[in-house]
Amino acid sequence: MSERQKKTFVITRFDPDTDEVPKTESYEIEVEPYWKILDAINYIKDEVDPSLSHRWSCRMAVCGSCGMMVNGEPRLTCKDRLSGYGDTIEISPLSNFPVIRDLVVEMDGFMDKFNQVKPWIIRAKELAAEDGPMRQSPEELEEFKQFSMCINCMLCYSACPVVANEPEFLGPAAIALGHRYNIDSRDEGAAERNEVFRGEGTVFSCSYANECSEVCPKNVDPAAAVNQAKFNAVIDWATGLVISRDGKE
């Protein structure tokens, strides 16, 4: 039988109806050695303090809902075992996002950035159903597959120093997603997305701190995507100087 162990969770609390600034509350609970951080937070919510608000869903690092700051680092709480942490663990909402309540952050700005990069296959002319499927070789799939593994957990936005300083910056996940479609052999919308990449939330704001790739729980390497996107945006810009978008010189 495994032995339960006492751990203290210092959790940031914020109620917009009563609090002007966030405060912290400590919860000492007994945890099982196999628990993940999310298990402990769920236990606190279910057994100790039902007023605690947090987001979670799948518990298997797929839905990307349970990202939080753990001891000051953006972590996916369903993925991290408690055994890797000390007796006291600080939990706070993801940095660089407005807080709605306790550990729940506002995602609207993030979702808006996703929409800006048009994360869907753009075709100059839509294929009819009778044209059959758009075939793709394993090599063509491999080009972008890594970047399609993003689960939108927003940890990279929380870690990014540029997002912290420039709120309009498109950010790692959105750029990686746009780049994923730009290098998809079935897509014909790269020019449109490159316009967005050179626009208000410019990809060139990235100073390559690489923090996004460091914290990514799915090893997507958004920093690589951002830098490839920068290079492609420059080539597209230089090409546009000599060849107009309709293909005439």
Binding site: V162, N165, F204, A238
Partner: protein, 118 residues
Amino acid sequence: MKTFLLRVEPLIWLLFGQGILIGTMLLTGWVLVVGILAPLGFFPNGMDYTRALDVASNPVSRLVLFALIALPLWKGAHHLRSLSIDLGGADRDTTVATTLYALAVVGTILAAIAVVRL
């Protein structure tokens, strides 16, 4: 000016990117050889003034010298701009960026004049 900076950002990033390559790899070696080892007498026969001027006057050498001087200026300007933002200067970014890139433009023009007049 903010819109203009946004429009020329791909060009600035291209110059910055090349500046990283030149500045961190070639310029470091260049300074080591020409600025430190040669004055210390490591190349007694190979680096006298006449010979160095002769080599530098070659059109290809002039182009290399121009790149060695001008591109790291863009690297420096862009890095300092990023540093300014990291230090909380996002609000004054347009002024900082304009000043730094203007200095890089002046440096680039001076470098071009210098290599032409060699």
